[in-house]
């Protein structure tokens, strides 16, 4: 019995301990807003912070704080504004750009940012041994591709020159209407030569130059702390040319993978901004905290791939029947639930002024007729399909719904196979699948980033589909300067794609985030890019005015309201 009492004593002591250290702590959001420290969920541990080695969004968000390209996105994501370059001119033939750098632009160690820095950095991005997966983003520059492939080794033949410290001249292979947009991409960011080479050769991956204490950048923030898998802290860079605009003192990035965990941390006041949000919580937030929920169309399409090299999917009519028999509206309303937009073409609607003319339809009668014409009336004799997706709750749900739709509407039996990410990629790449889930995020605001994927020579075309006229149209659009003519060519190409259907568009993604009302200057946009230099923190109790908030959220809230009913 004595032990029993002792046990009780221990338990109550433990309980008191728990209670005492738990009660009344100031939340991250409260203390952060007070001190100008932004706490933000960043999805995962970044692989690296080297802009020429990494490719993901996690890394690109961090690089956005630490580095700055020649031009940048306006916080609303609709137009480009000068960044490291204060101005630029374009030649008559649209093949040469001349950038003028800022005199007052400095690296975080005080060194001036010069045109030579950009020449060095872009050369580094193209060095074959560095293994830069995004080197092709620079291929629009004259001879860049040949240099990267090792066909030429003399960099002076590549169209990048610095006539003086503050002037950078870039010559392109073709007139590329979206070239300025490319400059916002991290593969065009500059790196500090002396720092990089203090820790290894220019083309050495993963040296220690990106560690706190070593890292030198030209962005609005500088690297303060990087604890593996726990957090990355950046602080305001006093040497930044536009330091006056920067309101935040620090940003703390947390590598939170699990969206449910992230949402709980947001709810408990541990985060100002989340990277994602669990779909099942959306309805609750719409009702209880609509101001915190930020949902906005995202420049990205969710779709399925058909392997066109094997029966029965080598038949266009089968692919058409499958595409016509899924109810996209129901999928976005009942499954994805965040107000995604049903996609009837591959490119998202209104891509920088471009909208597809050809669209797929939801038409069950026609779908059944097509299936019968293909030789499978009412699904009889249809060999059955295997639908592959990479392991994820969201993909699983969509696959289950589509499996049922094809069963009910076409009487086709579909088996689902989820694969872990690498197996999925391997099977997709080897065309060892029938139907596979896919998603594509546009690299820049132009239909080309979507449509050139399905040319015959594209490394990203995993469907086995090949169409000579399609290839020709995309090639012609690439050589055309006039935007209207380009778009017309893309529309023709896309109507081929939407008739032949090697891919089945399902919906246009939305970006989903939770944002504390303390956060100002965070504007939803189609690229889901949120430059940190414009973000500030104001305790939501002393809001300036209600208008200020609603102006920020107008479009997002409109959208959510439409989709709620």
């Amino acid at each position: 019995m004595i032990t029993g009492n002792a046990l009780k004593a221990v338990l109550s002591a433990a309980f008191l301990f728990i209670a005492s250290c738990g009660f009344n702590y100031e939340t991250n959001v409260e203390s952060g807003t007070r001190q100008g420290i932004l706490h933000i969920g960043n999805g995962d541990e970044p692989r690296e912070l080297d802009p020429h080695v990494v490719t993901g969004r996690i890394e690109s968000d961090l690089c956005l704080a630490l580095l700055e390209g020649l031009v940048g996105w306006h916080p609303e994501g609709k137009r480009l504004i000068p960044a490291a370059a204060k101005s630029w001119e374009q030649s008559e033939d649209a093949r040469t750009y001349r950038f003028h750098l800022r005199e007052d632009a400095k690296w975080s160690n005080g060194d001036p940012v010069t045109a030579a820095d950009f020449v060095y950095s872009w050369r580094r991005a193209l060095l074959p041994a560095l293994g830069n997966n995004y080197a092709y983003m620079l291929y629009y520059i004259r001879n860049a591709e040949r240099f990267h492939q090792g066909e030429i080794t003399d960099f002076s033949q590549v169209g990048i020159t610095a006539p003086d410290d503050l002037t950078l001249v870039v010559e392109l292979e073709n007139p590329t209407p979206f070239f300025l947009q490319l400059l916002t991409h991290m593969s065009y960011y500059p790196v500090h030569q002396a720092t990089v080479e203090a820790f290894g050769a220019a083309d050495e991956r993963g040296t220690r130059w990106t560690r706190p204490g070593n890292h030198v950048g030209n962005g609005p923030f500088k690297l303060k702390e990087w604890v593996l898998n726990r957090s990355i802290v950046v602080e305001k860079n006093e040497h930044y040319w536009d330091a006056g605009t920067v309101k935040l003192n620090q940003i703390v990035f947390y590598p939170i993978q699990n969206a449910t965990t992230e949402e709980r941390m947001f709810r408990a006041g541990q985060l100002h901004i989340t990277n994602n949000m669990p779909v099942d919580k959306i309805a609750h937030y719409r009702q209880e905290r609509p101001g915190a929920l930020k949902i906005f169309p995202f420049f990205s399409t969710y779709y399925y791939l058909f392997n066109t090299t094997a029966t029965p999917l080598d038949q266009v009519k089968v692919r058409q029947a499958l595409t016509m028999s899924i109810d996209r509206q129901q999928i976005v309303d009942k499954i994805t639930k965040a107000g995604e937009i049903p996609a009837f073409s591959y490119t998202p609607p209104d891509t920088n002024g471009y909208t597809a003319t050809a669209q797929v339809r939801y038409d069950l009668e026609r779908a059944r007729a097509l299936l019968a014409e293909a030789g499978y009336p009412d699904g009889t004799g249809f060999p059955g399909l295997e639908l592959m997706y990479n392991t994820s709750e969201g993909h699983r749900r969509i696959a289950i719904a589509i499996q049922q739709m094809w069963k009910t509407n076409l009487n086709i039996d579909v088996t689902l196979t989820n694969q872990d990410w690498k197996v999925y990629l391997d099977k997709r790449d080897g065309k060892d699948y029938q139907v596979a889930r896919a998603g594509w995020i546009g690299d820049y605001l132009d239909p080309n980033t979507f449509l050139d994927m399905y040319t015959t020579s594209s490394g990203n075309n995993d469907t086995g589909w090949s169409h000579r006229r399609y290839d020709a149209l995309i090639a012609r659009a690439g050589a055309t300067t006039d935007q209207d003519r380009r778009f017309a060519l893309f529309q023709d190409a896309e109507s081929i794609l939407m008739t032949e259907l090697p891919i089945m568009p399902i919906y246009t993604y939305v970006s989903k985030s939770l944002v504390s009302p303390d956060v100002r200057g965070w504007r939803p946009n189609i690229l889901d890019i949120h430059p940190f230099k414009y973000i500030s923190l104001v305790p939501s109790a002393d809001e300036l005015s209600a208008d200020d908030l609603s102006a920020d959220d107008l479009s997002a809230d409109d959208l959510s309201a439409d989709d709620a009913d």
């Binding site: 019995m1 004595i2 032990t3 029993g4 002792a6 046990l7 221990v10 433990a14 728990i18 209670a19 250290c21 738990g22 009660f23 702590y25 991250n28 541990e45 692989r47 690296e48 912070l49 080297d50 490719t55 074959p128 041994a129 293994g131 830069n132 997966n133 080197a135 092709y136 990267h148 492939q149 090792g150 991956r205 993963g206 990106t210 560690r211 604890v227 593996l228 898998n229 726990r230 957090s231 939170i256 993978q257 699990n258 449910t260 965990t261 709980r264 941390m265 709810r267 408990a268 541990q270 872990d420 990410w421 690498k422 197996v423 999925y424 990629l425 391997d426 099977k427 790449d429 490394g459």
Partner: protein
């Protein structure tokens, strides 16, 4: 005894070698390489990456290369994190996992022995049934159910404890430790109840009682020393399990430990990271089992005979 330990440690060498061979072959047999990405990797980039990480060489050469570095303590560079060596990742993650595991074990022992002993003193009364029911529930609730439930109650509804993190906010270590430890608490409770029940019915306890020793002394000094032997032999595998099995808890609570790397390394085909963590955990399993055996022998002369000669 010293010879016994030495012998076991020497036996561990071929065991570890075989473990690394099996893991190496399995991971190389897994489809998809470490550098595959959603956006197609240009062949020339892939070629350079494979050269850099020596993946273009025959498997036995790669293995020899790996092992010859590993015995010198160099576990190679991580494939997914270009700037990190596996040693660095382990050095950052393992202390956290170890700390979490130790708290969880402490919790398991405190609650488990407490309730198990309490139950054994009053068998078949409510003081027995209540703790044992809780113990059984502990076994039945997987960590991925218990964790979110605890967070919901203590983090969200009561707002007593942080919902996630590790060394970010005071008190954020409590919930992950409890979640990880609860299953083991349940096992410890069952083991200690069984062991104590058996011991309390033995002659030497009766003798001690007849001599008029205080009950507390009998229980603590005599009965528990023998009755908790099963718990001691459980400690080795338990600690090993706690350390290599903390993945779910680390994910739910955003703990920067090694468990997440361990599981994700497999999914990312981060060959060196997987091999490094597997070797680490295999060594730990061997060492903890050895420690448990040694402790058992030290506490129980009868087992000592069997251990040394068996």
């Amino acid at each position: 005894m010293f010879k016994f330990i030495l012998k076991r440690l020497l036996q561990a060498i071929p065991v570890l070698l075989l473990v690394s061979i099996i893991t190496f072959l399995l991971i190389h047999a897994a489809p998809g390489g470490p550098f595959a990405e959603e956006k197609a990797v240009p062949p020339e980039v892939l070629k350079h990456l494979n050269e850099r990480y020596k993946l273009d060489q025959p498997v036995h050469v790669q293995f020899y290369d790996y092992i010859s570095h590993a015995v010198r303590g160099d576990l190679g560079p991580s494939f997914k994190y270009p700037g990190r060596s596996v040693n660095e990742i382990i050095a950052a993650g393992f202390p956290v996992t170890l700390e979490l595991g130790c708290y969880a074990l402490l919790f398991a022992l405190l609650i488990g022995i407490g309730s198990g002993v309490c139950a054994s003193l009053n068998p078949n009364t409510w003081q027995d049934y209540l703790p044992m029911t809780f113990a059984t529930i502990g076994i039945c609730l997987p960590a991925y159910v218990l964790g979110p439930l605890l967070v919901l109650v203590f983090g969200i509804w009561l707002e007593w404890l942080p919902v996630a993190g590790w060394e970010l906010i005071p008190g954020d270590k409590i919930l992950p430790s409890i979640t990880l430890g609860s299953v083991y608490a349940a096992y410890v409770a069952r083991l200690s109840r069984g062991g104590m029940l058996e011991t309390l019915s033995r002659d030497f306890i009766r003798t001690a009682r007849a001599k008029g020793m205080p009950e507390a002394v009998i229980i603590v000094r005599h009965a528990m020393r023998v009755g908790l032997l099963p718990v001691v032999s459980f400690l080795g595998p338990a600690l090993a399990g706690l350390l290599s099995g903390s993945f779910v808890v680390e994910t739910i609570f955003q703990v920067p430990g090694l468990g997440r790397y361990f599981v994700q390394g497999a999914f990312n085909r981060d060959y060196t990271l997987i091999l490094g963590t597997t070797l680490l955990f295999a060594s730990l399993i061997i060492v903890f089992n050895l420690i448990a055996d040694v402790m058992l022998a030290w506490l129980d002369p009868k087992v000592r005979q069997e251990t040394v000669h068996g």
